[in-house]
């Protein structure tokens, strides 16, 4: 009996000792879209700082905003910036504000499945809005065939596919459609889930892709990373300068650079339909949401340290995972903003 007690004490002592010299743990939650990037970053950062462990749960942007507002996590993450109402909610609850830090960029691409069509289609904004509003219903509609001379598009009905689950991908897609179509803006609007005028819903990128691949004459939208990793064909989209651009990391960074010139101080900016000849128009930042005041000094320094690292060395991991890097003017501006965390 004494022996058992002794062993128990030793184990307890060890646990306390480990805990004492231990590991500072920081918790975050939010967007699923940058999750592969974040988990890589937090892992690499942990390797360099053994006493700091950052845990991230990819529960969705909405959940991230909710949890950071309620104070159950140290930071949040979102694919769409918090709106004024949400910012006010945070301010009212805590007495101080919350900061947005763009981390990487991504893009959303239209993907399609038309039997016997192998060449890359070109989409005008009018075509995409018309298809998703349910106004363009046949593939051989002149709005679609116009820029696609020489491609024999069938007279079949278009099967429209969208995301069924709430997602940042949908936010980016609908944000773009709201910018290029007033009708979309007034009838449907932008958000992580919307009331779709037409179409079938697929769960997740893989769900949308599954329906598109299986259904002849369908069109859907997925994240660029997903399309690249799965070798899926995707269409070019005409940007605000009138150029048809193939989605690529360079095109996304170009869109970000175009937007960087008039980046607002709180970084809440949409870069869909951004200016610039090379800019891919359906691009977006993704953000970390960090409270302005963090009372625990150790946590505060750790988060600031991580943000600095993420903007410098961390960026080098981005392209390997098919995310676009932050343009340098944005990094410079963000580095200054880190000082706002107190």
């Amino acid at each position: 009996m004494k022996r058992i007690a002794a062993i128990f004490l030793v184990v307890l002592g060890l646990a306390v000792a480990l805990r004492a010299q231990s590991i500072l743990s920081i918790n975050g939650a939010g967007a699923t879209f940058p999750y592969p990037m974040y988990s890589k970053w937090f892992d690499e950062y942990h390797k360099q700082h053994a006493n700091l462990q950052i845990n991230y749960q990819s529960i969705g942007s909405g959940g991230g905003i909710k949890q950071v507002t309620e104070g159950t996590v140290d930071f949040g993450a979102s694919d769409g910036p918090m709106n004024d109402e949400q910012l006010k909610g945070f301010q009212d609850k805590h007495g101080f504000g919350i900061l947005h830090f763009p981390t990487v960029l991504g893009a959303v691409v239209p993907t399609y499945n038309i039997p016997k069509v192998t060449s890359t289609l070109k989409f005008t904004p009018e075509a995409l809005a018309g298809i998703y509003l349910g106004k363009i219903t046949k593939w051989n509609d002149p709005v679609i065939t116009g820029p696609n001379k020489g491609i024999n598009l069938p007279a079949d009905d278009i099967v429209v596919v969208h995301r069924a689950d709430g997602s940042g991908t949908t936010y980016c897609w609908t944000d773009y459609l709201s910018k290029i179509s007033d009708e979309w803006k007034n009838k449907v609007g932008k958000g992580t889930s919307v009331n779709w005028p037409v179409g079938l819903g697929g769960k997740g990128n893989e769900g949308v892709m599954g329906v598109v691949k299986q259904t002849p004459n369908s069109i859907g939208y997925v994240e660029l990373i997903y399309a690249i990793q799965n070798n899926t064909p995707f269409g070019d989209v005409r940007n605000s300068s009138g150029e048809f651009v193939t989605a690529s990391l360079a095109g996304v960074s170009a869109a970000a650079a175009g937007a960087a010139k008039n980046m607002p101080d709180d970084f809440r900016v949409s870069i869909t339909n951004a200016p610039g000849k090379a800019a891919y128009p359906i691009s977006t930042f993704t953000w970390l949401l960090v409270p302005e005041k963090i009372s625990d000094a150790a946590k505060r320094d750790a988060i600031k340290g991580f943000l600095k690292w993420m903007m410098s060395d961390g960026q080098n991991y981005a392209e390997g995972l098919a995310y676009a890097k932050l343009p340098s003017p944005v990094v410079a501006k963000e580095t200054k903003a880190i000082a706002k965390i107190q």
């Binding site: 942007s61 949400q86 689950d165 932008k190 009331n195």
Partner: protein, 333 residues
């Protein structure tokens, strides 16, 4: 546990004379009282959890209940951007898919159960039962994949065009064949719930006393007559039980349904059209639901699903009572 025992022992003397408490203590020593209290606690906890669930769902859905009132059940617009929420398409989708699945699964499942319990040799029956139990344990996402990769292409290429050509005059089999939709969801659900019906019904049929069967045979009935007119009616309550279990699973199934139903909040008489179910929309939209009204509308959908299950179960109980009275002559002894 200790606390519970302690409180009962302190109240026991005040309730009766000292002798009473002694017998109570002796019962306590023999363990009967402890067993009774523990099991009572478990039984009460089931009721408590149910009440807590309803309370939470009721509390959590205050905003939409006040804003939309009864219109929540009557309207069919689901628009998170403009804050309009109506549950009708989801209720419709849930009921239609569950109905289609039972329509397919009940005859198949009960037929198979009768074969296994009454007609098949014991060895065949036990072997098959092993596989059926295995099927019942397969996670629903696997059935969803089965639906996506096998049922949907089959539906789009063969079954839907076939139905359209033969029964296309009926409103149920019209419109474009996407492959996904109410019918596909119903079929996948049927595949999922058949094992439940077979497994439970077989057990019930096997537990019918031998004398029932022998008496029927002695009176000169054929083997099938003995099965259909005596054994099956005797086991009726248990067979209904298996169907309720199947219904409950069909109503609440989330993953497999969302993978094949098309996720479009629309109401259409055609079983080919894409739809949506309550469980699927909650699972899809809950994580990204920003805004209190949106989130609470999803919670109210949960409440609706709970009520739906409650009402259907209640109706089913009534059905049992009604039919067992009617057939009480041949039914339960």
């Amino acid at each position: 546990m200790n606390r519970l025992v302690a409180t009962t022992t302190t109240t026991a003397p005040s309730a009766g004379p000292v002798a009473g408490s002694r017998t109570f203590l002796s019962r306590l020593n023999k363990g009967d009282e402890i067993a009774r209290l523990i099991t009572l606690l478990f039984a009460v906890s089931v009721v408590l959890v149910t009440l807590l669930l309803v309370f939470e769902l009721w509390q959590g859905s205050a905003l939409p209940r006040h804003k939309f009132g009864f219109n929540f059940f009557r309207t069919s617009v689901w628009d998170p951007i403009f804050d309009q929420f109506g549950a009708l398409p989801f209720i419709y989708g849930t009921l239609v898919t569950a109905a289609v699945s039972l329509l397919i699964a009940v005859p198949l499942g009960i037929g198979a159960a009768i074969f296994l319990a009454e007609l098949a040799p014991a060895r065949v029956s036990d072997t098959l039962e092993f596989f059926i139990d295995l099927l019942a344990a397969v996670p629903s996402v696997i059935y969803g994949l089965l639906g996506v990769f096998i049922v949907i292409p089959l539906m789009r290429e063969y079954i839907q065009p076939g139905l359209k050509n033969s029964l296309g005059f009926l409103p149920f089999f019209q419109g474009p064949a996407y492959g996904v939709g109410f019918l596909t969801a119903g079929i996948v659900l049927a595949i999922m719930v058949i094992p439940y019906i077979i497994s439970v019904s077989r057990e019930v049929l096997l537990s019918v006393p031998r004398d029932q069967r022998e008496a029927a045979l002695a009176l000169g009935s054929t083997r099938w007559e003995a099965t259909w007119k005596v054994v099956v009616p005797f086991a009726r309550a248990g067979i209904f039980g298996s169907i309720f279990l199947a219904l409950a699973r069909a109503l609440g199934e989330t993953m497999a349904v969302t993978m094949v139903i098309g996720n479009t909040p629309a109401i259409s008489a055609s079983l080919f059209s894409p739809g949506y179910s309550i469980a699927a929309v909650i699972a899809n939209e809950f994580t990204e639901a920003t805004g209190d009204l949106y989130l609470q509308s999803l919670i109210e959908l949960g409440l609706v699903l709970f009520l739906l299950t409650f009402i259907l179960n209640g109706l089913a109980r009534l059905l049992i009572v009604a039919t067992s009275q009617k057939g009480s002559g041949t039914g339960r002894a």
